[in-house]
Every structure is written in C-alpha cells, then in structure tokens.
Symmetry: C2
Subunit: 435 residues, 2 copies
C-alpha cells in the first residue's frame, strides 16, 4: 500500500519482469515507498519459457513469487492487480478496485504477442508469453501424440504429428529444436502404433534469414543444426491464413497441422497506447534519452515497452539484459532525485545500452552466440548458454532444480515435465482430433 | 492396441494408479498383450499430493508419464481414454470412440471424493484427488492471501485468512499441518498489511478422534503437534451445510471461510456400480478371496475399488501398499493361467494383506507412525516417513528433485511452488473476494 504521509515519495512500478524487479532491487531511498504491481504473483524467467512449453522444465522451476523476491525490502509493497488505466495529468493509476496516486511512475509491462492485424489466428496458433501459454502448448502437443496413437486415419495421424512454428527469431528456433528432440528422442520408445520420429517440425520465417539479428554465417550454422535434428526450415515463407487444423502460405500452399505456435510478432503492452505519447510501429513508447516520457519527467518507460536508440541509431533489442539495464538506470535517477530534489530531463544521465551479446540454443547441445565480434556455435556456445542461464536464474533453489533437470534429461533423454494437466472436466480435449 | 491374433491373450487394465501399474510391472506372459488405460497421461504419487496443494512441490515432481514407466514392456500399450462402460457378459469395455474386447479385465480406477449425498458442496469445498484438484487448491489459497492484503474490510480479511479442512484422516491432518506452516512460516515476511501468522487453520473431524486408524495415544500426539503449529483441532464436530464463503456446523455454529477443503470422504470409482456386483456402503466391490468379481473369474478388482477383508475380518485400508500388493497378486494369477490355462477361483491363491504400518506427517519435522505394535512420533517418525516416501517415488529424477526441494524448504522456510497459474483470462479470479 502506498504510504500517504506528507514526506514520503510514492513510486509506482507497473510490471515485475526483468525491468521492474531490477528497478526495485537497485532503488534505494529511505523516504520513498515503492508499490510493485503485476497481474501474476510470480516473476517469470522468460528466456526458459520455451522449455516449459516443450516439457523440459516444470512451471515453478522458472518462476519465483514476486513477494518472496522483494520480501526483505520493507519499503516495497507488492500488489496482484490488473491495471485499468493511467491518468498522467492527475498522476494516478486506476486499478479494478481502487486508484493509486504516484510521484514517480515506472512502466515496465513488457510485450504481448502480435498477430499483425489477425487476432483471429490466436485461437489456432497460440503465442508464448506466460506460464499459462506454455502449459497450454505443452498440453496440446502431448495430447496430439496421444490422439495420433489412437487414430486409424493416416491423414489425421499426419496432421496430429505435424508441428509448425511460425517465426524464426530466437524463440522460434529454440521451440522448433526442442520440439524436434521431444518427438525424435524423448517420445520415440513410448508409443506402439505411431513412430514419433516420423513427426514433422516446420519452422517458417517470412524474412530471408532465421535469427535475423545474428550474422548470416551463424544463421546458416543454426539451419544446419536444425536440419540435423529433423526440422524443416523455410525462409521467405509468409503465412496467408491460419484456420482450425491448417495453415495457408501466401504462395497458396496448404499445410495440415494440429499444432501451430506463433512466435512471429511481439508488440508493446497496449497500455502504451493510452499515454498520448509517440509510439513506433510495434507500439513502443519513444522515450527521452533518460527513458522518461516526453513532457512527463516523472514517468519512465523501460524494457520491451520502450523504444530506445543506442549510439549507432540502432534500437535496443527486447532482451532481458536491456530491460535490467534500463531498470537500473531509472532507479539511479529516481534515487538521486529522491535524495536531492527533482532535476530536469536534460540534466539527467543518458541511458547507454551495453550489448553483452546474443544467444540462441538449438536442441540439447548446440547453440549460436555472438558477443561483439566473437562468434561461437555448437557445443562451446551451448555450454556458455547453459552457464549464463543458470547464473541468472533468480533464486538458488530454481538454479539447482533446473541443473538437476538438465543433467537428468541430458543423460537419459527423458523429460521430467511430460505431464498433461488441465484435462479435468474437459472430455472434449480428450476426444477432439483438432485439439 | 490389443493385438487381435488368435492365440494372444488380451488383458485390459483400467487405471494406472499404484494397483494398475504394479500389475503391469509384475505380469509376465509372452503370449499376452496388456492394454493399460487411464484418463490422465501420468501416474500420480498420491501420498504427496497434499504437498502440491500447499505449494511445497510442483506437479511434475509427483507425476510420471505412464508411457515412460512402461516403455520397455513391449507388450503393454497405453491408452489415454475415458471409460464409458463395461459389459461383463460380452467381455467388452466401451470407450468414447471404440470398444475393446478382453480375456481378462483388471479394474483399478481407485476412488473419488464423496460428499455423503451433498454434491453441491463440492464447488465450495473441493476435494483432493488429482493434480488439477491440487493446483486449484493452491491457486485458491494463494489468491486468498493476495485478496486479504488489498482488502480494507476486517471481516472480509478474516474470512480470506481462514482455512478449514474437513476430515481428520491422514490427508486432512497433512493438509492442515502444511497450511499452518505455509501461513505462519513461509508467507510471514511477504505481506505488508496483513500478518499471515494471524491466519486460522481449522481441522474438523466428525468422529471422537483424528487419525481414527491410529492408537488414541498417537492421535493425541498428533493433536498436540497440530496445536503447536497453530491448527485448531475440533473433533465430534459435524458439518451441516457448506455454502459460498461459510460453513454451518450441526450445532448451529457458523464459520466464515473463503478456503474450505473437503478431505472427509472417499468412495469407490462409480464404474463399480455398473458391474451388478455386491457393493459395500462406500461403493467398493465385495470381491472373492482371489480378488475376482463373483461369477466372473476373468475379472478382478484391486485397490480402492475393492473391499477385501484380512484374516481378522478387518477391511484392507485404502493405501498404496495395499493396492500394490493386490496388483501383484492378480498379476501372479493371470500370468500363471496364461501359461497353463484357466483355473477356477477356489483353486487360486487367496490374497493376504501384509500390513506394513501407517504413517501421517504433521508439518515439516513431525509425524506419527504405527508399525505393528511399534509406535513412533516426532522427529524419528518424520525421518522414517521421508525415507519411505523418497524410496517409493517412481523414477530417479523425481526422487532427486523432491529431495532437493525438501532440503531447500527445510533450511530456508521457503517453498518453491508458490506460483499461481491459470489466472489468465479470468479477471474474475483476481477481483472476487469469495474466490
């Protein structure tokens, strides 16, 4: 709860992702009270979300209760609430039940899946942003194999055993690699009528190259790795329509599939549209060099909701290190002004993005990594990926649990989280062939 | 799929709990084909289900894919299906899509929560039988504390922070102890407005003693332990009605609570009612001494669906060791007759239950155990409980993961699975005060 006493500065943070949480951890002004608001009770380690969707990790292994993370910071309150709207003029945020007044506002709500004007595709090809998304995708894929086992119709069987991932960015590549391994290695012995190794995994990318942020050389290595796992990679391939159980490409080709995942587009959280600020084409707020909203020096936007350009005019990518750096930057500004009084934006430090590099994994022992001018691939990149992700997983327990899971899966080709939950009361789920 | 060749004996097993799975593992006749059917894709380690409901363990830690458990038994097929009915005369089982014919049928579907003629209570006081039940209870309790934190109304707050467990058997005792620890130890630092240590946990038992299968001395120790954790234990207390947000006792007393869990009654799976066999008052099939259905020597009932009496005329309790022993017994009979030809029930071996003892845990370092005439309580019983449950957890990975979780929780008083899933798209869940 925001303390209402006269001298207390009320800082309101919307979103407990990497940006919002890092802000809370770096902010340090005794005469301020921070309220951290999220509509989930947990912080999500999003870089590993694809592992939950592909039955490699369980949901609690990549999530940590927000209250638990900030429990020692006595001047931080956590609220589990929906944001209904922001009123910049009155310095107020409307929630479902109440209204909160702030002195400083930090917007860190991240992004949502974008279907480029086709919201109707979502029901057939869900995106991957939350734990519930991941659990839904896991259930769908595992059920599809179960249905294939009991179906006599060969065409139906093929459709149930075809997985299409739309979008060749890091998430799409990681999903496609993990699905191929799930089918070809993990499930291969478990069925009697179908051979899961016959499953098709197709990765579709509209542009000329998968992993567009990587060099063409690394992207080619990624394609070779994916092919060796059995993934069909198709670049310059655009989706024209998605319907129940099939997808149409713009070239007229039709692909039958009961399992389509959308990893093609991300847009900023729609709250950005209500700020009357200038937005870029994916809805991000074009912020000042100090990350504040133009005309509102008391309001900051960080992470995937913000468009920031680095020294070369390149926009800062939507990755967790960028969000964390922004959270730390804003914490420094508000801490300093909380102690000495407000400054005008031009007098504030300018945000500079420190690019630590890019990584993407392809299956269980290959990856591509680009750190400055250095390029890695194969096993060394995978080992680096493993190390970095373990180090950054918040909370000791999760780190140990994830390491245990990975070690187990690595040596046994089994996956611990291959269970289907949420079946209850939904007999339809069990009997539908469309899933 | 059941192989249809002439000489192949078709064995159909309904239910992949402790009984059904043990049957599959012990059965050994090369000219038979076993079909194992369940409506979940996982075997559940039910003795630890209360830990998922109380946020101690994650769902995949106590569940293992059925296919994966039997993958090396090439003559066992697994089907994820609903059973629609059994036709004993035709030796057929109807599923949603198809009909399976059997030579031997093993019914091992376990039990369901029973509300003693008040099915309308279920929506207010869910039972705990499946992973989905446990995840729903976990979500409900964690959300109740979140709602209490944002509510100004003191009566509402008290209601949200009152947890009632109905039924003082082992499950009820374990739930009450774990909830008390969750509120008083795990959550205590995480809220700013409420003090989770003020939460009330009430355990209601209609009979004169909790843990009725234990000696009065051990039951009294359990009560003392529960009291020291802050649980109010009330015996000889009957529920008269349960409604939205409150419960009425038969003495007229009304207790307001947003969190009620029903652990008072178990009945056999309703399929037992369709067999035209004699049932006991909780719907269990009264089987022959060899565990077959009277008049149908080719059909067996095992586990919580069967009523079997031991030498002293006592009914065998509904615990996993009993189900496993029955599964092994029936596997021996069918294996032998598969190799040598059918025998009549009187010529078959009689099932004898070997009582290995009873245990129940109370919180994180106390338990009660009764093994023959030996009685333990406190720390030694808890250590024994820990060891036994770890040894019997199916699958190496789970065992290691659970041990890691427990060690972590033990030393830090944190719980790894304190995340709320399934909130998405259900704004109501976030805003309701009744939950």
């Amino acid at each position: 709860m925001p303390v209402q006493a006269e001298n207390v500065k009320r800082v309101l943070v919307l979103g407990a992702g990497f940006g919002g949480l890092t802000f809370c951890q770096a902010f340090n002004c005794p005469r301020a009270h921070v309220t951290l608001l999220d509509r989930q009770n947990h912080h999500l380690f999003q870089p590993l979300l694809y592992q939950v969707a592909t039955a490699g990790l369980s949901a609690p292994e990549i999530a940590q209760p927000i209250r638990s993370i900030v429990s020692r910071r006595k001047n931080v309150s956590v609220l589990l609430e929906n944001v209904a709207g922001v009123d910049l003029a009155r310095r107020q945020v409307r929630l479902d039940h109440t209204v909160l007044t702030y002195d400083n506002l930090v917007l860190a709500l991240g992004g949502v899946t974008s279907y480029f004007g086709h919201p109707e595709w979502e029901q057939h090809a869900p995106g991957l942003k939350t734990l519930d998304d991941a659990l839904r995708i896991r259930r769908q894929i595992l059920l599809a194999f179960e249905r294939a086992e009991t179906t006599a119709d060969a065409a139906q069987q093929a459709r149930l055993m075809t997985i299409i991932v739309v979008g060749g960015g890091a998430t799409g590549v990681e999903l496609a690699g993990a699905f191929a391994e799930l089918a070809r290695r993990v499930l291969k012995r478990d069925f009697r009528r179908i051979d899961p190794r016959q499953a098709r995994v197709i990765l579709l990318e509209a542009g000329p190259q998968i992993l567009p942020q990587f060099s063409p050389r690394l992207a080619a290595k990624a394609v070779a790795h994916l092919n060796s796992l059995g993934v069909e990679v198709r670049t310059r391939t655009r989706v024209g329509a998605i319907d129940d159980g099939f997808l149409l490409l713009t070239n007229g080709e039709r692909i039958e599939s009961a399992n389509m995942i959308w990893a093609a587009g991300v847009a900023a959280h729609p709250l950005a549209q209500t700020l009357n600020a200038e937005l870029d084409r994916v809805g991000r707020v074009i912020v000042e060099p100090d990350l504040s909203v133009p005309g509102h020096p008391e309001v900051f936007v960080i992470g995937d909701m913000a468009l920031v350009r680095d020294e070369n005019g390149q926009s800062v990518p939507g990755v967790s290190p960028a969000a964390m750096q922004m959270g730390r930057h804003v914490a420094r500004i508000i801490t300093s002004e909380c102690r000495t009084g407000p400054a005008s934006p031009p007098a504030r430090p300018v945000f500079r993005y420190w690019n630590k590099g890019l990584m993407a994994t392809i299956g269980r022992s290959a990856a591509v990594a680009q750190i400055g001018r250095l390029e890695f691939s194969g096993w060394p990149a995978w080992a680096a990926w493993l190390l970095i992700h373990l180090v950054f997983l918040i909370g000791f327990r999760n780190r140990a649990a994830v390491l245990l899971q990975w070690t187990y899966s690595y040596f046994t080709y089994k996956r611990g989280a291959r269970i289907i939950t949420g079946l209850e009361g939904s007999r339809e789920l069990l009997t539908s062939n469309h899933l």
